[in-house]
């Protein structure tokens, strides 16, 4: 498989359309989140707001690479949702708590849901969504579907018992799940070296399933690894693990200054800003022209602006909304 794969993959990934797609989504993610930050500071967005600035290559590379299939994410999921194709304005409206938001204003930043796009939310309980992904994979397989599940999780989540339980079950039951650990090196203020015995997190999964480590600042590398993993889980119906090394440029959430990290450390990682890496490389290799970039930037700017306008002008939920959506109140008509 491998040689042929490399060739196919080479022509595929290096294509200009791909670079354009990556740049568009990562730029959209970046600008969208910067705007979220601004709106948060203005008081239009409240609660916990976790930004993925610095981690866009992982999110975009993974979602684009994975293609069709269900997505289970933690609370840092704006860029994942955008990459999956949820309209920016629906996400922004959600964060404004408006009834037009993807979760009707009831979820907020950490809880974006769009099952029509196979997007099963951000979850605010660390590691809680990992077994969901395993169960979902089992269900898809049982129902004869092939696509598999993409489960994004943080480095901190890999220290939780649920994580190990899920690895075991996924392998035992042969469930087609791609576990993608975005190792941004911190769980709030605790560095991975102070919370994990194994410093290379992909080692935690290696005894259960194929497990690799990639540079999460390079969107192509993430993409390549995910394509390969997807092929594996579709072909064998078994799980796969990727650890993507990355870094978050902002604090853990808006409530966290992130000042437990030295400015030197932050500077070092910012020099490998995934968006800039992509841009430089694309221009250099001729995958993107300056003009294209300008057009994309413009489009992104417009989209973000529109999303804020839409959110602002959307209505608040009515009072009845408090009790709606609690139960669906329907019985299965299949079971006699």
């Amino acid at each position: 498989m491998s040689f042929l794969h490399e060739v196919v993959f080479y022509t595929l990934t290096m294509s200009q359309t791909l670079a354009e797609k990556f740049y568009y989504l990562m730029k959209l993610g970046r600008e969208f989140e910067l705007r979220c930050k601004e709106e948060y500071l203005k008081g239009n967005i409240s609660g916990f707001l976790h930004l993925a600035i610095g981690q866009e290559a992982v999110h975009v590379g993974a979602v684009v690479g994975f293609g069709k299939g269900d997505l289970f994410c933690p609370y840092r999921e704006h860029v994942l949702a955008l990459a999956r194709g949820i309209e920016p304005k629906l996400i922004m409206a959600e964060m404004f708590g408006k009834v037009t938001g993807v979760s009707r204003g009831k979820g907020g930043s950490m809880h974006l849901y769009e099952p029509r796009l196979d997007f099963y939310g951000g979850n605010a309980i660390v590691a809680a969504h990992i077994p969901h992904a395993v169960g979902a994979g089992y269900a898809r397989k049982l129902m004869g579907e092939k696509a598999g599940i993409l489960c994004i999780l943080g480095d901190g989540a890999t220290n939780n018992g649920t994580f190990f339980e899920s690895l075991n079950i996924a392998s035992l039951w042969e469930v087609p799940v791609l576990f993608l650990c975005e190792n941004n090196q911190y769980a709030i203020g605790t560095h991975v070296s102070r919370s994990s015995y194994l410093k290379d997190l992909f080692l935690k999964a290696r005894d259960y399933m194929p497990s690799v480590q990639v540079d999460g600042m390079d969107v192509f590398e993430v993409y390549r690894a995910v394509i390969k993993a997807k092929e594996y889980i579709e072909e064998y119906g078994k799980p796969y693990f990727i650890e993507a090394l990355t870094y978050r440029f902002e604090g853990h959430s808006m409530a966290d200054k992130g000042d437990y990290r030295s400015p030197r450390e932050i500077e070092m990682f910012k020099r490998r800003d995934p968006l800039e890496l992509l841009l430089k490389r694309s221009l250099k290799e001729g995958w993107l022209t300056e003009e294209q970039v300008r057009l994309i930037d413009k489009k992104v700017e417009r989209l973000v602006e529109e999303s804020v306008e839409f959110a602002k002008n959307s209505p608040e939920p009515s009072e009845e909304e408090l009790y709606s959506d609690l139960y669906c109140g329907v019985c299965s008509d299949v079971i006699p």
Binding site: K106, N123, V126, P317
Partner: protein, 325 residues
């Protein structure tokens, strides 16, 4: 003094005077605690006594249980009560049972601290008051604190106790500045009467106590209704003696709590009062509590879902009108 600083003071006092005291939890050490309750303690007492743990709630409480069995006096922090649900095995099946099952041979001088409650737009999974779950478990002590004085004294008392204690804080209280002075002979098992009154006994705890005090002020000024406000510091056991004494005087009971009304702590308090003081009641007990929904993100809906001083005021007035106040 800020509520969080009072807690910090109690922890520091305990660490300073008893070398068996250790703190553990997510981000409690180097980072100083998610709500900065343990700030400065890592620097002063080092990583062996102020222990950063991985995100593993069940094991945080579980290891603390083991430490306590061997004679340490661990104070475990669960970042918020929402996450303590991942430690329910340890909290429900282990902490309260080991001493009993061993015929009193095992000691568990252990405190598990956690904040709870609805803050502002944190969403359903981060906005819960769960005291009733813990308060229904025999073998646990469930203590809490509503201001700096009680925070300091109750927490210190909890650490001194040789039994397992669950200590609840409220997220919205951390940044509130309260008058503070250390008291002699503080007893957390005695409820505090924070305001004397003739007409209605209002029982509450944690942040709701402050909402009740505010509403009581309005009730007095605008309606001439005089409320006796009781602040519970112990949710298991509950100081019924103080409550009964007050209700015998006022003939009316209101319980205010943030959790959904069904099966909350107020259900227990009203049931007990109805059982014990039925003939003293001039009105049915009233519970003012949260709605029966997860807390929504939208601020308007969020405020609809929980008691506020305005609601406490309005509901007491309404109920009073119906029932001869």
């Amino acid at each position: 003094m800020l509520y969080r600083d009072a807690l910090n003071l109690a922890l520091e006092h305990a660490l300073e005077h008893d070398h068996r005291v250790v703190l553990l939890g997510e981000d409690v050490g180097f980072y100083g605690g998610n709500y900065k309750v343990t700030e400065g303690l890592y620097a002063k007492y080092g990583p062996k006594r102020v222990i950063d743990t991985p995100i593993a709630e069940n094991s945080i409480v579980g290891t603390a249980v083991g430490m306590a069995m061997m004679g340490l006096r661990p104070v475990a922090e669960i970042m918020t009560a929402n996450f303590s649900m991942l430690a329910m095995d340890q909290i429900v099946n282990q902490m309260p049972k080991l001493r009993y099952m061993s015929g009193g041979k095992v000691f568990l001088p252990l405190v598990v601290r956690m904040p709870q409650g609805v803050a502002k737009q944190l969403g359903s999974q981060h906005s819960q008051s769960l005291e009733h779950l813990f308060a229904s478990i025999p073998g646990l002590y469930v203590l809490c604190a509503s201001d700096a004085v009680s925070a300091y004294h109750v927490l210190l008392y909890a650490i001194r106790m040789d039994d397992p204690v669950l200590f609840l804080e409220h997220v919205l209280l951390y940044g509130v500045d309260f008058p503070f002075e250390p008291l002699e002979g503080f007893d957390p098992f005695r409820a505090r009467i924070l305001r004397e009154g003739r007409d209605v006994t209002v029982v509450s705890y944690l942040k709701m106590t402050h909402d009740v005090l505010k509403a009581s002020q309005w009730l007095e000024e605008r309606e001439g209704i005089s409320c006796e406000v009781i602040d519970l510091l112990s949710l298991r056991p509950i100081d019924f003696e103080t409550i009964y004494g007050s209700v015998k005087k006022t003939k009316r009971l209101v319980v205010v709590y943030e959790a959904p009304k069904t099966l909350g702590l107020g259900a227990e308090v009203s049931a007990r009062v109805s059982e014990e003081l039925f003939y003293f009641l001039d009105a049915p007990p009233l519970r003012i509590a949260g709605e029966e929904v997860p807390i929504p993100y939208n601020r308007k809906l969020e405020l609809m879902a929980i008691p506020t001083p305005e609601k406490v005021y309005a509901q007491i007035v309404q109920w009073g009108r119906r029932h001869g106040l």
